[in-house]
Amino acid sequence: MARIEVNLWSGLRRLADGQQVVTVEATTVGEMLDALVAAHPALGPLLQAGVSVAIDGEITNGRHLPVTPENEVFLMQRLKGG
């Protein structure tokens, strides 16, 4: 399985053993989020409450979307509009 680097916003760092970039094995956004929680359970409530994921600059909530090691991946607070 591919190893994905996930950039956390640094407020999450202390919930992820001090890391701001976490590497997990995943092929989709959903697998990536699940792997993050498995590695760092303290992230669970926040990820479950809803986050947005930026893949190569595109912000998405889609768990089914593929991710590869070449993608730039950022976790962001869930976006809302007015």
Binding site: A54, D56, G57
Partner: protein, 747 residues
């Protein structure tokens, strides 16, 4: 200026009359309060007169004794055990143990007339124990502030934080200390903005009906019927699919109608009144006291700049209160604040703070105007200190496609440079200025959004088409979606009808928010039309006895794709539709997705003001909005969005604010005292539509509804400074504040 990489279109980019225009100018359109039903009851709500109080008791006996009163409800009539956002929604709909702000609902009554319901509401006796309160964000974040709600903080909040901090965030990149060390000038200032209301003309209104069997209906003024369904059923413990929600026409929303405030009350009253429908219409005072304004903000910003205008580093700490519940848009404010700039080092810190005010709701680019006010004001201050042209400094530091954003991810296709260049070239920048006049510029940003989207399109027997969408039309989306559908099908604009439908008619749709309706529903409508075209080509192929792949769709008709496919005259959509019953049945297309390819939008505003040195009154002389629309499907509605954002921003900058007395009661809950701009306050607002097509949309669309409210706050502050020499860092810049600032300058 305009960069158009797409082919020319027949309909996209034209300005036909809006399909709902006649209904709206003749009164035929049905808004929230226009709906009625046989046997209907009318509701009134009892609201707390205290900013923070324990509810000791509620006596409803005198109200219930009135002839014609059919139901009274309190929190005891709602299910228990809700958690998270569902609990927040329920608690905000009807107070439980404590009233958390002036105007918080504590009981509601349904009666056979509106007057009777109001009389009955006045007979409901509520005993309160008044508690200490706090309404200002800088006071609310103090460690010894009155505690609004223990245990509301989420896991992001560090231990030992003040009790009203409920969310904490921090993000950035680069070495800010090293960046500031490289700067020739480092400035740090504090800025404050006050809460403002979306100010929609139509107050909230709904008609709810709910039977003992848990089946119900609602007709409601909303930006999102599926959100109403989800939230009402969560608050009342109902099964989602048993509530059918029909949206009315809507007299403005701007984000304030993406959530619920009083809608569950009509359903709960209906259930208690034996299933009779209950109508609930808010007064303007109720709207201002108890529906979502935006947050108020207190912001520290620090920027380092070299003599040639390069920004070397930046930091921001934002504190925002969004009322008595979590949800102030401090995250969005921070994401957007520095978004126009390519920064080698930047660090952001944000606090979401509770206060005894109504629960905030989204308001057009939630958070972004506050962030822009702080950052764009400070950039202007630094340009003046270093004697630099603020437009050139923005161009020098502007982000381009592929640059890392201030919040981390790289930008895709964006048009900030094109927007700034178009602004620079506009004649407004060289118009002469007189005494006491000044010019300000500012940039702004919004992400835009895709969201859950479901669209169905059906071909009628005569070859016309109807499109069912789940996104209420707030800014002309019916016209834009009809244009895109007609363009795709190759039929006249007038042959497409776009219907905003109820929750039983489509899959789930997010509301019209995030500048998504024309982008997402439009993209889905194009996909649905393409599906129908594929089916129509298949039917023509069957008729001709050739392969479907040998048929193409041109100008509203199927035709053989080339000489080898056979020689048949084109078969028009009307001909194919006319015999659909005998060729396989109805022809339709549908599309369900969370559309990707969302294109972000940047804007730049230029404003000229004149400030009366005797009174401090600011007059807007001239206003220019320049913004990247990707592709303007219906340019008039794009211009309308630009002008609307600027008008609301002018109100936010100059006059609008919630004024509370020492007891935490709102002093200005009517439009006479809460002053939104009227026509005489506004000049002609000039617009320039920049078109850097969004590659993620078949017609290049970027959402345009929100970016336009982000630059007005700082642009006007910068203009007032240019006119007077006084820098105002606390909105609104009302005449007394401006006058005081001018006097302070004179010593």
């Amino acid at each position: 200026m305009a960069k158009d990489e797409f082919k020319e279109f027949k309909l996209v980019g034209t300005r036909p009359n809006r399909p709902d225009g006649l209904d709206k100018v003749t009164g035929r359109a049905r808004y929230g309060a226009d709906i009625s039903a046989p046997g209907m009851l009318f509701a009134a709500v009892v609201r707390s007169p205290h900013a923070h109080a324990r509810i000791v008791s509620i006596d409803t006996s005198k109200a219930m004794a009135l002839d014609g009163v059919k139901a009274v409800i309190t929190r005891a009539d709602f299910p228990t055990g809700l958690t998270g956002e569902d609990w927040d929604l329920q608690e905000n709909t009807m107070a439980g143990e404590r009233a958390l702000y002036d105007g918080h609902a504590v009981a509601a009554v349904a009666a056979t007339s509106a007057l009777l319901a109001q009389d009955a509401a006045r007979l409901i006796k509520v005993e309160y124990e008044v508690l200490p309160h706090v309404t200002d964000v800088d006071e609310a974040i103090k460690p010894d502030a009155p505690v609004i709600r223990q245990g509301a903080a989420d896991a992001t909040v560090p231990e030992g934080s003040p009790p009203n901090v409920v969310r904490y965030m921090e993000f950035g990149h680069g070495d800010t200390d090293a960046g500031f060390a490289k700067a020739d000038l480092v400035m740090e200032k504090t800025y404050k903005t006050e809460a403002t209301h979306q100010g929609y003309i139509e107050p909230h209104a709904c008609l709810g009906q709910l039977g003992e069997d848990g089946k119900g209906e609602m007709w409601v003024c909303t930006q999102g019927q599926w959100y109403i369904r989800k939230m009402c059923t969560a608050v009342l413990g109902l099964e989602t699919s048993q509530l059918r929600v029909t949206p009315s026409e809507i007299g403005g929303g701007f984000g304030g109608k993406t959530t619920i405030f009083m809608e569950p009350l009509s359903l709960a009253l209906s259930r208690k009144a034996g299933g009779r429908p209950v109508k609930l219409v808010m007064s303007r005072a109720e709207v201002l006291r108890a529906t979502g304004p935006t947050a108020s903000a207190s912001m520290d910003v620090k920027i380092g700049m070299t003599k040639d205008g390069s920004i070397t580093a930046a930091t921001a700490e934002f504190r925002m209160q969004g009322g008595a519940f979590p949800g102030a848009p401090v995250d969005m404010a921070l994401y957007c604040a520095f978004a126009p700039y390519k920064l080698p080092a930047v660090h952001h810190v944000g606090y979401d703070v509770l206060a005894n005010r109504p629960k905030c709701a989204a308001y057009r680019a939630p958070g972004s105007p506050m962030g822009a006010f702080a950052v764009e004001s400070l950039v202007d201050e630094m340009c003046r200190e270093l004697a630099l042209d603020p437009m050139e400094v923005r161009l020098k530091n502007a982000v381009r496609s592929g640059d890392a954003s201030s919040y981390g991810p790289k930008f895709g296709s964006i048009g900030l440079i094109e927007t700034l260049e178009a602004t620079k070239a506009h004649p407004n920048l060289s118009a002469p200025l007189g005494p006491n006049q000044g010019r300000g510029i500012a940039a702004g940003y919004w992400f835009n959004h895709g969201g859950e989207t479901s669209v169905s399109m059906a071909i009628s027997e005569d070859g016309t088409a109807q499109v069912s969408v789940g996104t209420p039309d707030i800014g002309g989306s019916r016209a834009s979606i009809a244009l895109m559908t007609a363009e795709t099908l190759g039929i006249p604009y007038e042959d497409v009808r776009v219907n905003v439908v109820e929750t039983g008619a489509l899959g789930v749709n997010e509301p019209t928010h995030g500048s998504r309706a024309t982008f997402a529903s439009g993209k889905a409508a194009v996909e649905a039309a393409e599906a129908a075209i594929k089916e129509m080509c298949r039917r023509a192929a069957a008729e001709w006895g050739i392969e479907p792949e040998a048929v193409e769709w041109v100008d509203g008709a199927a035709q053989p794709a080339g000489p080898n496919a056979g020689k048949f005259p084109p078969m028009t959509i009307a001909e194919i539709a006319g015999k659909m019953g005998s060729t396989g049945g109805p022809i339709s297309g549908h599309h369900e997705s969370v559309p990707g390819g969302v294109g972000a939008s940047f804007g730049a505003h230029v404003v000229d003001v004149e400030v009366d040195p005797e009174t401090g009154r600011t007059t807007i002389l001239r206003y220019l909005v320049v913004q990247d629309a990707g592709r303007a499907i219906h340019p008039s509605y794009v211009e309308g969005q630009y002008q609307g954002g600027a008008a609301q921003g002018i109100g936010w900058a100059l006059n609008e604010e919630y004024v509370y007395d020492k007891d935490g009661r709102l002093l200005n809950p009517v439009f006479l005292d809460y002053r939104v701009p009227v026509a005489s306050d506004l000049p002609m607002i000039d617009t320039v539509i920049v078109e850097v097509p969004n590659p993620g949309h078949p017609y290049g669309v970027r959402g345009v509804g929100e970016t336009g409210i982000t630059p007005p706050l700082p642009a006007i502050a910068n203009a007032i400074h240019a006119a007077t020499g006084a820098r105002l860092r606390h909105l609104p810049m009302s005449p007394p504040k401006v006058l005081a600032a001018i006097k302070a300058l004179k010593g």
